[in-house]
Amino acid sequence: METPMAEIFQFFIRLSAFLGREIFAVLRQPMLILTLVLGPFLILLLFGLGFRNEAQPLRTLFVIDDENSELAQNLEKTVSNLGPQLIYEGITSDKEEAIQKLLRREIDLIAEVPAHADELIRNNQPAVITLLHYEIDPMQKDYIAVFGEVYINEINRRVLLQATQQGQEESTAVQQSLDATKQTVADLNQALDSQDQDQVQEQQQVLERDTDILVQTVGASVSLVNGLNQAMGYSNNTDTEAIEDLLKDIDQNSQPMSSETGNTQEVAAEKQRLNQLEGNLDELNSLLEEFQTIDPDILVRPFRSEPKSIASVQLRPSDFFAPAVIALLMQHLVVTFAALSVVTERRAGTMELFRISPISPIETLLSKYLSYFILGSMLTIILTAVVVYGLGVPMLGPWGLYALIMTSLIFTSLGIGFVISLIAQTDSQAVQYSMILLLTSVFFSGAFIGLHLLQGPVKVVSWAIPATYGIRLLQDIMLRGYLANPLLLTSLTAIGSLFFVIAWVLMRRAMAQA
């Protein structure tokens, strides 16, 4: 009879059985180690070097009814330098030829401008520019929709900008009108001083006409600015309201007091009115100068977005994908290792040895978990070192937490691998199951396609895959420096525990009497 201490000692000896077996078997295959370590590194390196984080430029041909029309010429000026993502391929009136080019993939997009677009706008109807494409990739289709939206906004902005610039240019005429009015006020003052009644009356009429012109020209510009302000939702119209009030004052002050200005009192009153008017004109002058100095681009596009990350480091696109690659690769490697382990031993008959020997199903499973866990950890250490120190992917969080996440990911992946191994009848079946899991992970784990793009019920599949948790947790800890949702780690470990229990039940069955 063994003593309890001897039993415990033997438990650990039995547990060590697979540790040596698996590690020696792997170490004996240097090419395998090289592939396991270098493979993922090269994939990441290639991805980092090759990934372009910019929208695809689209070769765009504009189709318009009359390519020599004024609209076509204006359009060419507007669209030929719209932005880096629109490669201007010219304007044509031959729609069929344009479509042929699209079919031959010589261009990516046709922008069909409606005939008589100017008339449509004048008739209070939008001029719809149709974007024809021949894309089959749903993401690319969506991109074209967004592309269209962005560039049509840009065209609209340029049209508005042109109108505003025109308005500001017209304010030069206002200036001239203002100067003429001020001169008339001076002349009227002089006529009053010289008590030349005829001259006074003549100058009064000139002043009335000048102020009418001034009110009209300034009014038009102010209305334009007011319209822009309202369209943009500005609540503060102080500047334009001041101009409008001034115009009212000018209009009022420009009315002659009487047809005859004979007595001293009347002359004094008229001079006072002229002084007020002069003051109004000076004030208007300064306000107009202010209006003229506003950048028309600011007027038509007063708001602009400028994204800024609060992250402490600037991330490259490959940095974002690195945690996903680590999680996916580690899951796949560990699942494949585990999936092949029991099925091979069952097929070779080695399992019979275990069944007859004192090693129990739980010891067998624990021993295998331990050996593959150590192997997985070794690979994780090498892969992480290469990713962080070789490729320079940031590691902002604590290493302890990173180790905890990887432990949970490896533990859960091992559970799935052993369940596969205990269900599969042959090696190839086990490999197939592992590959199916990898494929599912690529599509559903959110590694490359965001989870928000998946329908609700399909997300159940996503959240059954360890990599889904691993990717989010690793992205948090590596790129944000903390765990935004620690529940994910708990859930991942819970799934791992569930698979451990299932694997244990299956192992008991596999080692039971037939």
Partner: protein
């Protein structure tokens, strides 16, 4: 008979409608080599699997080291060694690593190097201990399997066709190893389809079509196959049928007397060693010159055929 280490009673195993083992009853004393002999598909491996606990019997009782295999305790499992029919260790490990692996399965302490070296010497694999198994010959793999089976010094060793497919020289060596193990007090249960190997066993069970025809010592099997010991008598003179008839009437001749040639006789007796001198005296009386007289030991292949033909089921 010594204390049985294996005991079965009316043991049967059915796979679906097929009955692989039928009503098998036998017991094996401690410290013996028990050969389980039968043609391919006769139920040898199934019986071995029932004894080791790999299979659950459909009917009957089994006691191995006084325990039912379905309820083997760890202590009992540590007393059992098992060498499967095929090589089941790892091709990608070295000889030494494989032995270490099996030693760990059985909880052999980490100071095991001496034991491993002893075993490698025993199976003559010391010079190959660092070799990866995939580079070993079939015979070497068998020897490695044997060493792995013995690593934890089991009291009872099950060997499933350990000599199948290996050359006669190595087969002989294996049996020498088995004899040595038996001399150390261990019990061996060996299945084989080489009937000739029965001669190396202390007890032999003959199995055919899932039925145990008999269990006995090799010598007794021969006797049972032919009804006693066989004596081959050759004379210089012609032996007439009348002489043969007279011979049959002698009191010490209980078995059959066959004239196998003009000058040769085949005589079945209870005990060859006592009958041979009597026969020499009788020949003299009959004026027959004896050229040769000896106990005939027919090969076990013939014995087995005879036993199966007789359908002797008296174990």
């Amino acid at each position: 008979m010594k204390q049985p280490v294996i005991y079965t009673q009316n043991l049967s195993k059915q796979f679906g409608s097929e009955e692989a083992v039928k009503d098998v009853t036998f017991s094996i004393p401690e410290g013996t080599i028990f050969g389980f002999i039968g043609p391919s598909g006769s139920g040898k491996t199934t019986t071995l699997r029932l004894l080791t606990g790999l299979y659950r019997p459909t009917e009957g009782k089994i006691a191995v080291l006084n325990e039912a295999p379905s309820e083997f305790s760890r202590a009992t499992q540590r007393k059992i060694g098992y060498m499967p029919q095929l090589f089941v260790l790892y091709d990608d490990l070295s000889v030494w690593e494989n032995l270490n692996f099996v030693a760990s399965l059985y909880g052999v302490g980490f100071g095991r190097a001496k034991r491993l070296n002893e075993l490698l010497d025993f199976v003559e694999l010391s010079s190959h201990k660092d070799k990866v198994v995939r580079k070993l010959s079939g015979g070497m793999k068998r020897r490695l399997s044997l060493a792995a089976t013995l690593i934890h010094r089991p009291k009872l060793i099950f060997l499933d066709e350990p000599t199948a497919g290996i050359d006669p020289v190595l087969r002989r060596k294996f049996w020498d190893h088995f004899q040595t193990i038996r001399e150390q007090g261990q019990t061996l249960f060996i299945t084989t389809q080489y009937v000739g190997e029965a001669a190396y066993c202390d007890y032999v069970g003959v199995l055919a079509n899932g039925r145990l025809l008999m269990v006995d010592t090799p010598k007794n099997l021969r006797r049972r196959a032919y009804g006693g010991d066989i004596i081959k008598l050759r004379t210089a003179d012609y032996v007439s049928p009348q002489v043969v008839a007279a011979l049959r009437l002698l009191p010490f001749i209980q078995g059959d007397v066959t004239r196998t040639g003009p000058q040769t006789l085949r005589i079945v007796t209870d005990n060859a060693s006592t009958v041979i001198p009597l026969l020499i005296d009788w020949a003299k009386e009959q004026h027959l010159t004896v050229e040769s007289i000896e106990e005939d030991l027919p090969p076990f292949d013939d014995v087995f055929v005879e036993l199966v033909k007789n359908g002797d089921t008296h174990g």
